[in-house]
Amino acid sequence: MREETRTVPVQGLLAEVARLKAEGWRLVTLTASELDAERLDLLYHFDRELRLQHLRVAVAKGEAAPSISPVFFSAALVENEIQDLFGVRFAGLLVDFGGGLYREPESPAAPFCRRGGPRPEAPPTEGGGQTPGGEGCATR
């Protein structure tokens, strides 16, 4: 990558993200990318004055990663998307659709993981397009 990219351990992620926020970096988004049957790369993209910086975290499939939504609330939506598409669970996610942001109960688990490996269970909620809390207004 052309910009600064640092690899950080899962345990140090929240502290590093909080430090970047304090330095004035804006969270742009997260990217999940499959490395092999066992591991995924999570890339965290940050911007300050139109300059990019990335953090890279390797997570094992089927294991939880810490949610950064308590630091950057805007991460909640993309973390839910990654939960749906790659099966990564984010611990401490402030708004958690439980794997049902896009997926129906009958949808395949982790549809963007094509190299196999551990898969999460089907979303616990009824129907896609759910709002968290199960008020029943959002079902199709």
């Binding site: 990217t31 139109l50 990019l52 950057f72 809390g133």
Partner: protein, 360 residues
């Protein structure tokens, strides 16, 4: 105090595409808003497994019809950077020209929809009538009205001649004159002001904290536009972002209207600096990018990000697309609490939501 939960969308007169917001209401005021997505998610990113790089251009152009040119531009810039090549200077300027025409037609589409949402039917028709002329310029110079399909790896596939460009410049002048005549109707009309001033306010701090981008962020005082990074030919066009500070729906309206005029000026200046020469590199073999890259461009709705990863094969390993509406949804959820139920459609539309992009 009793709360009422009201579903807004997925089908609603102001929403051309489906998104659902669950509104918790107390005495006609929104106290909480929660979104629901996934009604039309297409999983386009995964098509990268089945399409080679040139075919993926066709796919990314179809993420969104309204900004198809800019999706393809971003994707091609990323692939070119991975291949270590650069489109010829004439192609770079032509990409800017068509991107800005795309921005104009997108903003005009939104201005019409916004006027329609306010019940201002004649203004809606005026903006869409003018938009048709922008689409005519696209059709004449690219062969297509909306999905212009001009980008290729290493340049563009069309090269308008001097007569066409002269006509485009003259038409741009006439369109600008017409838009300036509409300016008082859209920005100063008492009804428009009453429905938009102070509605859906987003402070600068909120906009930054929630990751807002594009006109939504610039209307809250964040003077950032990815075109300032000088990608393609923007570095030669002395670009300045349009910024407002009120952070309400009227500020977002002002930003988009003035950006429309600024984009017309960029088209005019792009024609003026257009160099002679080739518009497309001749690639000896099919592109097989290796490495990973993040590329950003400015869409009509804000910052568009592509992450590309390749391992030297004809198909990429991963394409990730972060569209501006996806980034602006948390900001929308912060604008709605405190709004009157009758203002929810106006505030929602004020971020120019593109669900086609969001549900790529």
């Amino acid at each position: 105090m009793r709360h009422t939960v009201i579903p807004f969308g997925p089908q609603h007169p102001v929403l051309p595409e489906p998104i659902h917001v669950q509104l918790t209401i107390r005495e006609e005021r929104v106290v909480e808003a929660l979104p629901a997505l996934g009604f039309v998610h297409r999983g386009l990113e995964r098509l990268v497994e089945a399409r080679d790089v040139p075919q993926m251009i066709q796919v990314v152009e179809r993420v969104c019809g309204i900004c198809s040119m800019i999706h393809a531009h971003c994707f091609c810039m990323g692939v070119e950077a991975l291949l270590g090549i650069e489109a010829p200077p004439r192609a770079q300027v032509l990409r800017v020209l068509w991107s800005e025409l795309h921005r104009v037609q997108s903003h005009l589409l939104w201005l019409g929809l916004f006027a329609d949402c306010l019940g201002f039917e004649s203004l809606f028709m005026q903006f869409w009538r003018i938009r048709e002329r922008i689409l005519d310029l696209g059709e004449a110079t690219t062969g297509n009205r909306v999905i212009v399909s001009v980008n290729v790896i290493g340049g563009v596939r069309r090269d308008p001649d001097a007569a066409q460009l002269g006509w485009v410049a003259a038409e741009i002048d006439r369109i600008e004159e017409e838009l300036r005549r509409l300016e008082p109707a859209v920005l100063d009309d008492p009804t428009v002001r009453r429905r938009t001033v102070g509605k859906g306010r987003l402070s600068r701090a909120q906009a930054w904290e929630l990751g807002a981008v594009g006109p939504t962020a610039r209307a809250s005082g964040i003077a950032e536009d990815i075109r300032q990074t000088n990608y393609a030919a923007y570095g030669r066009l002395y670009f300045e972002p349009v910024v407002e500070t009120d952070g309400d729906s009227h500020a977002r309206l002002r930003v988009r209207f003035r950006e429309t005029l600024a984009s017309l000026d960029l088209v005019r200046r792009a024609i003026r600096i257009l160099p002679a020469g080739e518009v497309r590199l001749k690639l000896r073999e099919p592109p097989a990018p290796r490495g990973e890259i993040v590329v950003r461009v400015e869409q009509p709705r804000g910052e568009l990000l592509y992450y590309l990863k390749g391992s030297g094969e004809k198909r990429l390993d991963r394409v990730r697309i972060r569209t501006p509406t996806f980034a602006n949804l948390p900001a929308l959820l912060a604008m709605l609490p405190g709004a009157s139920l009758s203002d929810v459609p106006v505030v929602t539309l004020s971020i120019d939501p593109c669900i086609s992009c969001t549900e790529r």
